[in-house]
Assembly symmetry: C2
Homo-oligomer: 324 residues x 2
């Protein structure tokens, strides 16, 4: 068994070995740049931990782990075009630094590259590994489309929101874990439980993201809070607030989220106050804890010893407790 | 052995069975629309013919054939955004009919979908099938990037152009054929010869495209000729003309291709005249015939009987003789 730090070191190491010294540079430079932006590398970590949990050979898991992370970064690259986000991880996004065409195409190339790494593994697992990956990739696209739809949709329920974040975020964590389980030699029941573990962790993870964006400690969070509020993003907090608010509070919420005049600082402050008044933070935390606890139930069901599950148990708890 | 018409019928049939009745509709409708635009379906035809040539089971080839065609259509969808082309096959392109975000995302989903179909085949061939497909997909992106680079590059040689069309067009025909060979049980030498056959056919195919765009008979071609001239596209004809032209003719060419004032009809007429004067049409035909003949040499080397090669021999000759 390896510690989280050891897995992290392993992931860092394999990432430093990716060779993107190819032509045309206009295609490969944005890929190097994107992969060099860093990030938490959660998906490859989960994949390695899952493989290790079943006693699998980590060497079979390294390249697929890179594949999942390249895929994730590809989706961010294309999302940034669609959302017109100029900054990612403190640096200019690809479409801003280069242009939209280069961002579209280098994203496409990353998708192909993800598959190149994905299939460098034990041939026996390819059919199930690819089935998980393909389904996940398609669902992530579905999630992004729902997300875009919701921007202009009048009525979005919390159920709609959960469906969207399940597709956009949770299935990729779940898919990484299931891929690791498959490579590690898990039977299909265990692999499916690990998938469900990941799905629930993913939902909790996104709720934590929603919470941090509003209630995070800026000094630790590393960026300004309130960006979801400024963009009128229909997060769990937003939707819960509209579900709970009545009378004057509801009117205020509606005005604040439709106003273009209010300056951002005032808007954030007023909405945070309403959120606190309504207690939406606690509803979000409760939902998050429920998903986390569902996740752990699935993990417990898996037929390996507690010690083998330790890395994933600890890591998932860390994700829930994180302050950035 | 089957006839070209039988293969075409088979391809038509499997295409009519693709199920895209999923949510969100904003993601899947543009995919249905794109796949419904038709086209020559050359890549799936080549894949089936290749499989059949080696006596393979066509049922193993049907889904991968769809996979290659979905991939091809995905690249067209994204190319249309990058090239800002409003019309494809007589209909509005996806980014025009919907919007750029939907075009980016439904393209991404098509890429994932291509893989879903690709892997529905005999599991034993998956590693080699995926290796060919991944490499091809990456090279097609490289080709598109070179194509975009050439738009603003001062000096493009015919060698550069051939490298670009090899990547952008030829490798996908080659990859489809090699995939068919692999599924059909060919040994690697034969599969590689079929790949080279496809590469050469692909280059000849693109030169034929360049020729038809300028010298095609509009009544048969089905659309206006001269669109490459209007866009100042650096085709084989353009590059050969600049290579050969001297003095007054060179000056005229430079003026015509840099002018924004000249009306399109006059520009097309004048450039066609210069092309004819310089004989670039014949150089293009000669190059095309050379590639075709190289292709046939590779086909002849393959260790199956002449009868088994008939479908591909005939089909490649048809592609060279086509008037649209």
């Amino acid at each position: 068994m390896h510690s989280t730090a050891e897995f992290q070191e392993k992931v860092k190491q394999i990432f430093s070995q990716i060779d993107l010294d190819a032509e045309p540079r206009e295609l490969y430079e944005p890929i190097s740049y994107t992969l060099g932006l860093g990030g938490k590398r959660i998906r490859p970590l989960l994949l390695l931990m899952a493989c290790d949990m079943f006693g699998g050979d980590l060497n079979d898991a390294l390249n697929p782990a890179i594949g999942f992370e390249i895929f994730h970064n590809f989706t961010l690259l294309h999302d940034d075009i669609m959302d017109q986000s100029p900054i990612r991880r403190g640096k200019e996004t690809v479409y801003k630094k280069w242009n939209t065409n280069i961002a579209i195409l280098s994203g496409d190339a990353m998708f192909a590259l993800a598959y190149k790494y994905l299939i460098k593994t034990n041939e026996k697992v390819l059919p199930s590994l690819l089935t998980v990956f393909n389904q996940t990739a398609l669902e992530v696209c579905e999630g992004q489309q729902f997300d875009m739809n919701y921007e202009t949709m009048e009525k979005v329920s919390i159920g709609d929101y959960i469906k969207m974040i399940r597709l956009k975020t949770a299935v990729l964590l779940a898919g990484s874990l299931k891929a690791g389980a498959i490579i590690g030699g898990a039977d299909s029941t265990d692999a499916d439980h690990l998938y469900s573990f990941g799905e629930n962790i993913g939902l909790a993870f996104q709720l934590k993201d929603d919470l941090l964006d509003v209630f995070g400690d800026e000094a630790v969070f590393g960026k300004r809070t309130g960006s979801d509020i400024v963009c009128n993003k229909k997060t769990f907090l937003y939707l819960k607030a509209f579900e709970l608010a009545k009378g004057e509070t509801l009117k205020q919420l509606e005005e604040l989220f439709s106003s273009v005049g209010t300056d951002n600082e005032t808007k954030i402050r007023k909405i945070k106050n309403i959120y606190s008044e309504l207690g939406v933070e606690h509803f979000a935390e409760e939902a998050m804890d429920n998903y986390h606890s569902n996740a752990l139930t699935h993990l417990q069901t898996i037929k390996v010893g507690t010690e083998q599950k330790q890395a994933l148990t600890e890591f998932s708890t860390q994700l829930m407790k994180r302050e950035k």
